[in-house]
Amino acid sequence: MSVSQPPDDTSGERTLRVEALARVEGEGAMYVRTSEGRVAEVELQIYEPPRFFEAFLRGRRHTEPPDITARICGICPVAYQMSACLAIEDACGVTVDGPVADLRRLLYCGEWIESHVLHIYLLHAPDFLGYPSALALAQDHPDAVQQGLDLKKTGNDLVDLIGGRAVHPVNVRVGGFYRVPTRRELAPMREALLLARDRAEDMTRWVAGFDIPDFEREYTFVALRDRDRYAVVGGELVSSDGLVAPVADFDLHVHEEHVARSNALRAHLDDGRAYLVGPLARYSLNSAQLSERARAAAADAGLGPTCRNPFRSIVVRSVETLHAIDEAIAIIDRYDEPDAPAVEVPPRAGVGHGATEAPRGVLYHRYELDEQGLVLDARIVPPTSQNQAAIEEDLAGFVERHLSLDTETLTHRCEQAIRNYDPCISCATHFLDLTVSESNGDNGATEAGPRRRPAAP
């Protein structure tokens, strides 16, 4: 980047632009324009393949969405599988409980560990420690990064063990699983999780020591709530404004609109407000239900009962990782093999809703089936599109308070602010090649870059 904007020149116009190309899940780009010391425009553009999935799910059998929608994301396939199963079982009037439901949570714990740890060490920590990439971080701190990779591997192994494969698990079906593990098969996993628990405590101490920007916002938090536990698979939809609604009413409270310039739908609540899903929302609404160890680690890390600083999400993710490990151990300890690996789910005509807490927040699925179980209509609302408006508001708020920073620093901080949300694109953050253009009000626009890589597939 060759642009150098005088830091104190806040009278003219400034444009901050970040292009991000992703491999599978799509692309996102950031554009911020400031004028007269104010933020005039903020755009976060996210391209979302799930829209195509909704179309080609039509006409498929009711047993197919878990495998099909898993392909939406290589980082959180379990989230898609679980939300799809819950929605279809709801449509068919079937409830899955007991050890099979426990195994679903266990699988999901694996995904949380895998996804959170990847984000903490490889995507987000470099921002806080002043490194341009995970690689640069690894060169100076190989032990820390290796510790992260070891912890992540425990999550991978758990998904592999329960799901049959570490990416896009093949063992999940509507009603449960094709095969369930024996107690004996879970025993070595328990040992690995005990080791991972120590590592997660170290990790929480590590990220709590980062220099975290002082920035808080008044969010409306939305998450699932489960009476008995920190909600992951199913629950009621709750918000920090007092909303309590069954998942079946998701459509009544969450509205999506198409915004020009972006293929993503932006979600908002009844009165048009932006809201936030994900670690901060879950933590702020449900922190009392975290495991004892996770609550203690949160307190040691300086987190109160709620967290309104998006840059602290790295600490919350770390606490949630510890919770997921504790929960996985507890599930293994009480596990008895179920009589059958799955409940039969005979098709019937109807509409079903399902929501789970993907690592990045609430993931909602809705299916309408005919009497043979063929999908007539499908709707998928992923967390990143729900957070799109909140991310834009974060950017606007952050830029407005930090206009004195030079363009390069400010652009970097904006990228970091986007990474607070762990956008649901495994590699998007790594195609963030920057294009910064500035104009000073007299149409004398200058371009730095673009330094774009070849269009990524």
Partner: protein, 150 residues
């Protein structure tokens, strides 16, 4: 490594499928989506690793690049792999963490089409036999003990 749902990005998995009936013994075939940390786990403990991936460097589609990973960083961006935190990053991450195989050889096949959809474009399809042969030669050389003449 690669994504078979992205046309030519699936060249690596296709080569692996062709190799499956042709290799035996201590050779392990692993198909990956290209995520760096899983790549490190995949070659953990291996003496020799051969990676086949899709590449876009501006050369003609179907051109096969061979890169023997040495002391210098893997060329990157100019001859980028099609993955985000992908091969080049995995190699350098492995180097930083002391987790590289003794010998690491990368075959990169120049792609034409990486839009959504199955199947390879004709130029990449035509390169398959060549890549499979070359990988078999690499494996045969690797199976010789260091004292054997190549």
């Amino acid at each position: 490594m690669g994504n078979p749902q992205r046309h030519d990005d699936g060249v690596g998995p296709t080569v692996a499928r062709r190799l499956a009936p042709l290799v035996e013994g201590e050779v392990e075939l692993v198909v990956l989506d290209g995520e760096a940390t899983r790549l490190l786990d995949a070659w953990d403990g291996a003496d020799v690793a051969v990676v086949v991936d899709a590449v876009r460097s501006g050369a003609e589609p179907g051109v096969v690049h061979r890169v023997q990973v040495g002391p210098d960083p893997v060329p990157h961006e100019s001859a980028a792999s099609t993955h985000g935190l992908g091969l080049a990053e995995a190699v350098e991450l492995g180097r930083a963490l002391g987790r590289l195989p003794r010998q690491l050889i990368v075959y990169g096949v120049e792609v034409a089409d990486t839009a959504a959809g199955a199947g390879l474009s004709p130029a990449v399809e035509a390169a398959l036999d060549d890549v499979v042969d070359q990988v078999l030669v690499e494996l045969a050389l690797a199976s010789l003990t260091p004292d054997d003449p190549p």
